[in-house]
Point group: C2
Chain length 203, copies 2
């Protein structure tokens, strides 16, 4: 299994380099657990979902604590057949999911969001979950949407995606649960996610 993300932070300010550097500092605690490589368009992070989602959450939360409008785009991927197996990506949640029914996975996902840490940073997210190479992908998608509606972070459905709103801790736990608990445990699943904070449209 290969698990990772391409991450891009977009501060809507002329001081964008400074905001990006503030965000990148928040990644320090995760450098031992993740492979992190930056180019001119995005930062690749490869590793197990526990540090992966925590690192991306902390990156965005650090930038969002500043006053400027900031957004972030992330492409999450697990199980892509074109990527090599990587032992650092091993994930017990995924291994256990193979034996669990959809309703069991929905209950475990909901419980994880309740236990998420509170970071004191309100954020908006919209995302799409994609399940590839499976004939019944919409069953898993609808099962995931049911979980999202009861997660406490659900903020509405849009064409092609779902809105979430809440504390960065609960929102990123919701995303991690959607990513891990839905779609075949050993299959190819991706998330296309956009986050936003301090938007003047909401003032």
């Amino acid at each position: 299994m290969f698990i990772g993300a391409q991450v891009s932070l977009y501060p809507m300010t002329s001081d964008f380099v400074d905001v990006i550097m503030t965000g990148l500092e928040a990644l320090s605690p995760y450098e031992a657990d993740l492979r992190i490589e930056t180019d001119d368009m995005s930062t690749l992070m490869v590793g197990a979902p526990e540090p992966l989602f925590a690192a991306i959450r902390d990156l965005f939360a650090a930038a969002a604590k500043r006053p400027e409008h900031v957004t972030m785009h992330v492409t999450f991927s697990r199980g892509c057949p074109g990527e090599p197996d990587d032992p650092s990506c091993r994930c017990e949640t995924l291994e256990q999911a193979q034996e669990q029914s959809l309703s069991d996975r929905q209950a475990l996902a909901a419980q994880a969001v309740v236990q998420a840490p509170d970071l004191g940073v309100g954020i908006d997210v919209q995302f799409s979950l994609y399940v590839m190479g499976s004939g019944n992908h919409m069953d898993e998608i609808y099962g995931c949407i049911d979980f999202l509606k009861g997660s406490g972070t659900f903020h509405g459905s849009k064409n092609f995606c779902t809105r979430l709103r809440g504390d960065a801790g609960a929102v990123f736990e919701t995303l991690r649960q959607a990513f891990l608990r839905f779609g075949p445990a050993q299959g190819h699943v991706t998330i296309d996610m956009t986050a936003s904070a301090n938007s003047p449209s909401l003032r």
Copy 2:
């Protein structure tokens, strides 16, 4: 068939509202052909792929002609089983694709990129093509990658995505061809795309 996109423009400047307004003006010629709805996170555009990709291309090109660093994220979707049929999204290219072999589709895609207009704006793109609900989705993905490598806009492979670089005309035609010619003609196909222009990382 339902075809559309969620589009977000991110200017890395404190004058971001002004840059976004410049970009939105470029959408005027397409207002008759597309349904366009904006909220605080993205702009929904629904319609046939011809005006859809042209509108998004012109939006980004207008913003990229200014000196500021600007990025854009787009989620393209066709054939999502959860969306209603919409006659305005009818697309002859897709209807014809049902009868065409993979190699025929690759040749037609390459030809379309050669004929793309030159907009005089150099841009960078990275994107992922997702083909859902099909057992052989990787055959279509690898067929698409072969097309991309010969498209003249290919700029390298990354984990989870492909880089394109070139004039906005050729790059967005490459994206449209990838979206229309690969994956089942009546199936659910999406693209997760990020564009960038005037990045200080490249100076």
